[in-house]
Symmetry: C3
Subunit: 145 residues, 3 copies
């Protein structure tokens, strides 16, 4: 009888330990592909190249979450006045591709949310966004060409 | 007698737990230095700079695994017609430095495997390769200058 | 009595396991934001942009540790003869922002420690520094514009 109770306790410890460690293992594994793409240049060729790069990523990794961070000169890509790829930004959004503008850059260029193409979002700082995403396990890529 | 058996069981649980957790710790530690290098430009100076960068990495970290991903204009670096550093690519391969061309870029530039310098390999997508390597714990560097 | 001793042993195993695994969990968590910034260009605009980027990071993440790695042409940023931002480098140091010059680049440009602006430090290889920091869990950003 006492061995029965003892073995129950031991079994419980074993399961609890296994469950606990498994939990850590899972945290280390990636379920979804996540990538933050930094863009700093804003000329037409770079804008088109970035759209092509994002589409290539989604073609091979359809479930990937992609966030394109536009700061410095690449803000143009998200401004109604400067974007050559505005339609793509709205079109890619429901597929899991977010385009975000750096509010530091916007302030410097005196742009407001109303100046952005439909679908574009903002983050307080483009660089800090890239830091935080990497801390959450996202891969990082310098986009453009 | 019963304490002897009991202590054997406890000892086993202890060892099993330690081994299990140690296993996770090892997965978190890096045994080999691994780095994926992104190159996007293809001019002669960039090509030479990349070779110099790879050699500097191998000088300080002789066991490092290095993978140089050439996409966009940097495909030239791996094309027989455009490479200024073809001999280096074959020479560095046995030292653990792989040069891979992006098949998306190759398709766009109508290049085939036969057009590549000896030793060069290909990957379906240069950017996806960089994402996957980071997911496996590789460091990432934007190469060139 | 024997159950008392037994439960003490079991309790000890339980605590030891929990402590051990917790220790691993903590290693996976980031307490401080850490970012290594790569700079490769050395023109005045890039130099000023990098200082602005670092200040923006520190504004939003005041406790962040930042290391700016200057190699290739960006060595100018840390040379007395070429730096337009020398005063910022000394000023930012006590705030947790280190500027380090690549000794490989210094050797190539025949610069010595005496040629560096006050506060600048050196690392054997800029690229290897970026690899090692990422292995230690630092985020990585390509700086400049």
């Amino acid at each position: 009888m006492k061995y029965f109770r003892l073995s129950l306790i031991l079994l419980f410890i074993g399961f609890a330990t296994a469950a606990f460690c498994q939990d850590i293992k899972k945290q280390n594994m990636k379920k979804t592909h996540k990538v933050v793409v930094q863009v700093t240049e804003g000329d037409s060729l770079t804008q088109l190249a970035v759209i092509g790069q994002v589409r290539n990523i989604k073609k091979q990794l359809p479930d990937a979450q992609v966030e394109v961070v536009c700061h410095a000169n690449s803000l143009d890509m998200l401004l109604k006045s400067g974007s050559k790829v505005g339609s793509h930004i709205a079109e890619l959004k429901p597929l899991g591709v977010r385009f975000v503008a750096c509010e530091n850059t916007m302030a410097r260029k005196k742009a407001t949310a109303a100046d952005l193409v439909p679908g574009a979002e903002t983050v307080p700082s483009g660089l800090v966004e890239i830091i935080l995403k990497q801390e959450e396990g996202w891969s990082y890529i310098k986009g453009g060409h």
